[in-house]
């Protein structure tokens, strides 16, 4: 059983190391700012998740009980990575792109972050 757990920890460590280095290598290697956004926010987050799983399994091996507070960090990172990616994409759209240079937004007329402010509703217009 202990041997199996050791193999499991080593497997997760190796997989997370590969994912981490792939994410950071993609950050230098990819040539488009929008495609550069993919590598760190997906691969690196998954790499950190692998390290934290290895840490959880190691706590089983070392102390005989499962410590689940690493899951807090995993949850936090998995929640915040898309938000930061969204913010950085917005920065790119507003600073480097014009509405004409962006790809088509499909059935909408404009991308949401470039859309004009909606007209004030009736109860907003009555307030002084």
């Amino acid at each position: 059983m202990d041997q199996l757990l050791e193999y499991l920890i080593a497997f997760f460590l190796v997989v997370s190391g590969v994912f981490g280095i792939v994410g950071s290598y993609g950050l230098i290697k990819l040539d488009n700012p929008m495609s550069r956004l993919h590598a760190p926010t997906k691969a690196t987050t998954l790499g950190v998740g692998g390290v934290l799983i290895a840490s959880i399994v190691h706590s089983i091996l070392a102390e005989g009980r499962m410590s689940l507070h690493e899951l807090l960090i995993t949850l936090f990172l998995f929640l915040t990575a898309p938000i930061t990616a969204n913010f950085i994409a917005k920065v790119h759209i507003h600073r480097n792109e014009t509405p004409q240079s962006l790809p088509s937004a499909g059935e909408d007329q404009n991308w949401a972050t470039l859309a004009p402010d909606p007209a004030p509703t009736s109860d907003e217009s009555t307030t002084p």
Binding site: G20, P40, T84, H92
Partner: protein, 89 residues
């Protein structure tokens, strides 16, 4: 067995940190640099967890949690400053 895997993971995340530093130095545009800084924070989290795992202690957990929160907040603050010109309106 675990120690070799730990060395491998340390090497990978250390090289990843160096690549992020290189990207911060040579990045084109400010969005790239903010992205590289965010990736550096995530890689630093992974390195700290690995260090705690190699020592067999859990005292680095709080430090990791604080770095994770501050990294998110700082990235959002950077992006907001670039978008709006100020952070707290």
């Amino acid at each position: 067995m675990i120690s070799y895997a730990l060395y491998f993971a340390f090497t990978c995340f250390g090289a990843a940190l160096l690549m992020n530093l290189w990207k911060i130095m040579t990045g084109t545009g400010i969005g790239d640099r903010v992205l590289a800084l965010d990736t550096m924070v995530i890689n630093a989290i992974a390195l700290l967890v690995l260090y705690g795992l190699s020592l067999g202690t859990e005292i680095y957990f709080e430090a990791v949690m604080i770095i994770a929160m501050l990294g998110f907040v700082s990235t959002v603050a950077y992006a907001r400053f670039l978008l709006r010109g100020n952070i707290i309106e």
